[in-house]
């Protein structure tokens, strides 16, 4: 067993590794990340995750629900640290996995992966507390500077393979969509389908009517005892076929998916412009890099300024235009707490994914991860409709790009060791 495997095992048990090993790990991670572009290309199948915020035990629950690395291909959209009590264990484990399985896990930068923010929101203090000096914090911050700013998912399927058998028992009687394509599916942490939506076949426009049916209320599911085993995995894990679009006669019907922590920037009208940013620095207060990590979608038209006096908000028309120009079918982002774990906006043009259940150990929210399946209809050939090729071939008009099939796995906070946690029952005190 290599040192790295031992470190992974140790961190999985929520035990820290020695400072010297952290230094070495961060050095290796930097060497690896420096080779990545600002926008990493990732082939489907992939599981997209939102904020973690140092909630280590919930990260373990995420791996239980979504499958382990390297069996599952993961993409984490930043905010690994701060707020929770185990930022170090969470980030170092993800970093170890990145170094050990570089092609099976992608990490992109969140606004909390910054020196300034981590000194205020907990990660710095945690490093001092657990290692007795700021060295480990410094090593980690150096890694932050090298993290990619975004990712493009290619080759996602527009149709989901229906989930496992226990779900079918529940769905067969209620779904009567003739010849429909399964477009979205929501599963609970036991792998049971709680919601599905279908779109009619052959009409590959993103705004066709969908037929949504609530099969079960999201959290009120009483499973038969035999169904409480590990969630049913769907879609064969393994490397996505890595065709490069050579001679492909047609583009995939599914556009690419842009993943970024915050959102869009008025300075960025194409994915290629993100590639031109000089990213290897502390997150600045201004410019495109800042916007990508900080901005939020909102129910407005065009661009707006946040009432806080810093930060942009962008509306549905901006998303629609950006997706169209870049041959994208979806933007996946994190950054904002959503009670249901995920939230689609603007006719499914953008989705917020949130992966920290019971945020800050007191919000009581559920978390979600988003699985995109692999499109095998072109014999595994992945068409590059990501703004590099799509615009020039004249085929990817607005109606030829359909959204990917989306499977959300929703999960709750892990039962965990409560030492060091805020007490559930408040301790009576003689406050005045």
């Amino acid at each position: 067993m290599s040192d790295l495997d031992r470190a992974i095992e140790q961190l999985r048990a929520c035990r820290l590794i020695p400072e010297s090993q952290v230094r070495e790990l961060c050095y290796k991670a930097r060497e690896l990340l420096i080779e990545e572009g600002n926008v990493v290309s990732v082939d489907a199948p992939v599981t997209i995750c939102g904020d973690i915020h140092g909630q280590f035990h919930d990260l373990m629950e995420l791996f239980r629900v979504g499958g382990d690395v390297p069996d599952t291909n993961y993409l984490f959209m930043g905010d690994f640290v701060d707020r929770g009590f185990y930022s170090l264990e969470s980030f170092l484990l993800l970093l170890c996995l990145k170094v050990r399985y570089p092609d099976r896990i992608t990490l992109i930068r969140g606004n909390h992966e910054s020196r300034q923010i981590t000194t205020v929101y907990g990660f710095y203090d945690e490093c001092i507390r657990k290692y007795g000096s700021a060295n480990v914090w410094r090593y980690c911050c150096e890694v932050f500077d090298y993290l990619a700013l975004g990712a493009i998912v290619l080759g996602a399927s527009s149709e989901l393979e229906p989930s496992g058998s226990n779900a079918n028992d529940l769905t067969q009687s209620t779904i009567a969509v003739d010849d429909g394509e399964l477009e979205t599916e929501v599963l609970n942490s036991r792998g049971e389908v709680t919601m599905s939506s279908y779109r009619p076949r052959q009409r590959a426009s993103s705004d066709v009517d969908t037929d949504t049916q609530d099969i079960l209320p999201p959290r009120d599911i009483s499973a038969a005892p035999s169904q409480t085993s590990a969630p049913t995995r769907t879609g064969a894990p393994g490397t996505g076929a890595s065709g490069d679009g050579n001679g492909s006669s047609m583009t995939s019907r599914t556009g690419a998916v842009l993943c970024v922590h915050g959102g869009l920037s008025p300075l960025i009208d194409s994915v290629d412009k993100i590639r031109l940013i000089d990213r290897k620095q502390e997150v600045p207060h201004e410019g495109a890099m800042c916007d990508l990590l900080w901005s939020d979608p909102d129910e407005i038209e065009g661009w707006g300024l946040s009432p806080r006096g810093a930060g942009f908000l962008f509306g549905g028309d901006i998303v629609k235009q950006f997706n169209h120009q870049n041959g994208l079918s979806l933007i996946a982002r994190a950054h904002q707490l959503v009670m249901e774990g995920y939230k689609e906006m603007f006719d499914g043009g953008i989705v917020t994914v949130w992966s920290a259940p019971n945020y800050c150990y007191r919000c009581g929210n559920v978390a979600a991860i988003l699985e995109l399946g692999e499109d095998t209809s072109n014999g595994g050939t992945i068409a590059r409709s990501n703004g590099e090729y799509g615009r020039s071939n004249g085929l990817s008009g607005p109606s030829s790009v359909s959204s990917p099939g989306r499977r959300y796995r929703v999960f709750e906070a892990a039962a965990q060791d409560t030492r060091g946690m805020p007490a559930k029952k408040p301790v009576a005190d003689y406050f005045l």
Partner: protein, 275 residues
């Protein structure tokens, strides 16, 4: 705007199935109850946004409340998130700006002249002068000079009921914190409730707004005190710099900050309830 009184959760229909009954106790003719549930889901948040006219905070515990009721007189007071947020400035007149706002805006002037509109301006620090929601037919308070008897409250009388309930919280987009929470302790002969709004806008301002409700069960006297305190962030930091303590930790501790901040507003009211 319709008050939420009498108590009934805003998102009642969508409350998760493991809904817990409120905790309660009755002492000396007063019924005290508290409820703690998860943050609201998307649907009730949308409904609340519509009713309030402003975007609610990121963490909105809309089903939570702390309530004191005097059964004989019908007097009661309730602390809940909706009514507290309804008192936040919705016009943007008292709007603060984050520390790096000038720098941010200057850097944008050349590139984005088209983007000037501030989206839905309002007091996004969620500062509220909320003093609780009185029951519909409650007789009104009268202004008083009589303070809450702090010395009596310092005595270690047994605490028969205690709870702490968060009503809302916002991270101010990682520029600090705004939080409204409510603590209550009930002793055999009296109770004290503290509803505290705490706001720290990093490198700009620290603000505390406390409402205290004191009830003497025997005399049925209720005293309500409101105290608003604030101070510039940098001033507070300088004062704390002279101590040897951990400054970032102190900056998160409203109790310690309370000793430093200056009072900007104060009022005191009382009422004696019919027996």
């Amino acid at each position: 705007m319709a008050s939420r009184y009498p108590v009934g959760p805003v998102g009642h229909a969508t409350v998760s199935p493991e809904v817990k009954k409120p905790q309660s106790i009755t002492v000396g003719g007063f019924r005290i109850s508290t409820q703690k549930l998860p943050i609201l889901k998307a649907e009730p948040i949308e409904e609340m946004t519509r009713q309030l006219g402003i975007a609610p905070p990121e963490m909105i515990f809309g089903d939570n409340h702390v309530t004191i009721e005097h059964q004989k007189s019908g007097w009661g007071i309730d602390f809940n998130a909706f009514d507290a947020l309804d008192r936040v400035d919705k016009t943007g007149q008292s709007m603060l700006q984050v520390a790096h706002s000038k720098e941010w805006q200057q850097s944008r002037e050349k590139t984005h002249e088209g983007i000037k509109d501030v989206v839905k301006p309002f007091d996004w620090s969620y500062s509220t002068d909320y003093k609780g929601t009185l029951s519909p037919n409650a007789p009104s308070f009268e202004s008083t000079e009589k303070p809450i008897p702090i010395e009596i409250l310092k005595r270690p009388d047994p605490i028969v009921f205690f709870d702490e309930v968060v009503l809302y919280e916002d991270e101010l987009a990682d520029n600090g914190i705004a939080m409204l929470s409510c603590k209550i302790r009930v002793m055999p002969a009296r109770l004290l409730l503290l509803s505290r709004f705490f706001m720290r806008l990093d490198n700009v301002l620290i603000r505390l707004r406390d409402t205290r409700v004191y009830v003497d069960f025997e005399t049925r006297e209720v005293i309500r005190e409101y105290q608003a305190k604030e101070c510039e962030y940098e001033k507070v930091r300088q004062i704390l710099a002279s101590t040897r303590d951990d400054i970032p930790a102190l900056m998160r501790d409203p109790n310690r900050l309370s000793e430093i901040l200056q009072i900007v507003e104060k009022s005191s009211e009382r009422i004696i309830l019919d027996g």
